[in-house]
């Protein structure tokens, strides 16, 4: 053994990383927390309530279909759909709509909801009508006269 420094073996130093990963991880974690906190994760859809084409000049008026009358569905304050004074369950309503559509594909359905009925009741009737194939669906509302 010798203490001559010229004969000492030096381990080469590991090259230092050119770009540090730590700031990138910090930014990614902040972005992750941001998206987790600010996003909503509920699955939302939409039902068109008004689609006015550019060439439409007037609102469509209720017209009679080829084979039947306009079907008026009232929604009571408790949310029960009623046709000509008879209350219908959702399944019966769907069956009725389907029968009418079989007779007249352009069967028009008017919905007259009570102001005390809730939103779910209206959407349920609209949903049932759409499921049954009704395409002519309108919501009507009685305005108090001045």
């Amino acid at each position: 053994m010798t203490d001559d420094p010229a004969q000492l073996l030096h381990r080469p130093k590991r090259p230092k990383a050119l770009i540090s990963m730590v700031p990138m991880i910090d930014v990614m974690l902040i972005l992750l927390i941001f998206f987790m906190v600010t996003s909503t994760y509920i699955n939302l859809d939409m039902i068109p309530a008004l689609e006015r084409s550019a060439d439409a000049t007037a609102d469509p008026q209720p017209t009679q279909g080829d084979g039947g009358d306009v079907l008026m569905v009232r929604i009571g304050a408790d949310g029960t759909p009623t046709i000509r004074g008879q209350a219908y369950a959702q399944t019966d309503l769907e069956r009725l709509f389907a029968d009418r559509i079989r007779q007249d594909a352009n069967q028009q359905v008017l919905i007259l909801p009570s102001g005390s009925a809730n939103m779910q009741a209206l959407v349920s009737v609209m949903d049932t009508a759409t499921l049954s194939g009704v395409t002519q669906l309108q919501i009507v509302r009685l305005d108090a006269s001045p």
Binding site: M21, M24, I25, M28, L29, L31, L32, F35, M36, T38, S39, T40, Y41, I42, N43, L44, D45, M46, I47, P48, A49, L50, E51, R52, A54, I75, P113, S114, G115, S116, A117, N118, M119, Q120, L122, V123, S124, M126, D127, T130, L131, I139, R141
Partner: protein, 138 residues
């Protein structure tokens, strides 16, 4: 002579796996989340299975179960709502107006509002629904 053994150093933990996991989670939350402005009150939209996919953009009018209003996440009164919607429709008449009403709100709070917005010249109005049952949504 006994030579002291140098304590073995723990291998450096690789952070590559951590980066992978964080990056995966980041992409996951970016894809499944919506960045819409949320209303200052709870809104549980009505359930409907025939709803169509909702496009982004437009304005969202939220209605609480008691009839309180919010426009794009900020509580508003009816005159403020009218002014802001009218301004937006004047700039872009095709603006989609979404009505995000609580499923329990009475229609006397919703239908007159629809009429007002229609009267302001809105070309497209949509009701926000959800295909799944939820307890609450902010």
């Amino acid at each position: 002579m006994r030579l002291a053994r140098r304590p073995s150093r723990a291998p450096p933990e690789t952070i590559v796996a951590l980066i992978d996991v964080v990056f995966f989670l980041l992409v996951f939350f970016m894809l499944i989340g919506r960045m819409d402005a949320t209303a200052p009150f709870d809104v549980t939209p009505p359930v409907a299975v025939t709803g169509a996919d909702m496009p982004s953009g437009g304005m969202t009018v939220s209605i609480s179960a008691k009839g309180a209003l919010a426009l794009d996440g900020l509580g508003v009164t009816i005159p403020q709502l009218d002014a802001r919607v009218a301004q937006a429709l004047a700039e872009a008449p095709q603006t989609l107006i979404r009505i995000n009403a609580n499923s329990a709100v009475e229609l006397r709070h919703v239908l007159p509002l629809l009429r007002r917005i229609e009267g302001l010249g809105a070309q497209e109005i949509a009701l926000v629904v959800t295909p799944e049952q939820h307890d609450a949504n902010r």
